[in-house]
């Protein structure tokens, strides 16, 4: 059982990457596919002892008002994330290449939302 006060977790950017406290359940990231949506969306995170319990907890924490038809739970430490410091190298080169953006087409109204 975890204790109520917060503590750093493995694999979060904000905290130092120390070991999870022994009394604390691991952190899980929760993705839910809504009835009307096509893909799973990240909705938040929670603590659970294992994957099965993470899905049960997600059901209680995030789908109590009938929001979803499918739940994914991923242990936070299993997610590889880009670092904010690399922002420049990763994304800025795209800014001066307008031809990469499909802004030169007139989209017919019949297409609807893109």
């Amino acid at each position: 059982m975890s204790s109520p006060e917060s503590s750093p977790y493995k694999a979060t950017e904000a905290a130092e990457h120390t070991e999870t406290r022994k009394t604390e359940w691991p952190l899980w990231e929760i993705f839910i596919r809504g009835q009307h949506g096509l893909s799973h969306r990240h909705v938040g995170s929670l603590h659970a002892a294992d994957a099965e319990m993470a899905i049960k907890n997600a059901r209680d924490v995030y789908t109590r008002r009938n929001e979803g038809v499918s739940i994914w739970a991923v242990e936070a430490s299993a997610i590889a994330a880009s670092s904010p410091e690399e922002k420049g190298a990763l994304y800025e080169p795209a800014n001066d290449k307008v031809y990469r953006h499909p802004t030169f087409f007139d989209i017919p109204d019949e297409v609807g939302a893109m």
Binding site: M1, S2, P4, W25, L46, H47, A48, A49, E52, M53, K56, N57, R59, D60, V61, R64
Partner: protein, 251 residues
Amino acid sequence: MSDPLFEYLCRLGDNTLVLGHRVSEWCGVAPVLEEDIALANVALDLIGQTQLWLGLAGEVEGDGRDADRLAFHRDVWDFRNVLLVEQPNGDFGQTMMRQFLFDTWHLSMLKALAGSSHEQIAAIAEKSVKEVTYHLERSTDTVIGLGDGTEESHDRMQKALDRLYPFVGEMFLSDDIDAAMVTQGIAPDPASLRKAFDAQLDAVLAEATLTKPADDFAHKGGKTGARHTEHLGHMLTQMQWLQRAYPDASW
């Protein structure tokens, strides 16, 4: 004796009302956020079922009492819940053991009631089955996880089982009211549910490495209203204080 059907509906409604209130006592103070929310969801499900059962009880009685009236304007001796559900929360383990024992009985009872000759009872049971299936899944997992967990969690779960097991037997006692329900095809004989319950209990306890108490002694007097434990009266002073202090107050 009043109408057996009214009595019977009060038994169903008071079980869910009293347990729903008990579980709601964890709101805001459960050991972790996730469990807090899950327990509140269970409590809300049970209160929702109470509205249906006691609402129907009031209709059957035909005395103008609705679900709220029955919930908040009766005293201990009028309550017809089994003794198990009024037992105090204790620690989290005791709460989950109580939940598991009740859920196991509750689900098999509701499944039988879904085939009731009484159309409204069958409909309420069918709706409740979906909710209680999930309650049972959750409480079973927790009992196994904590029972087969650390030395401390195991000890606490064993203590909880020893404390609560004497209240299991009452759920399967049959009396005149049950007999009247069986005759009309409204509800099953509670005693007929015992065998499956025991099998399920044994399987879960084995996985949880817990030992069922050898003594089969059963406290009784809750569902007949003859002798509730001292805990129910204390609970009602909390649950009913507003209607007691300001009778008929409304929003």
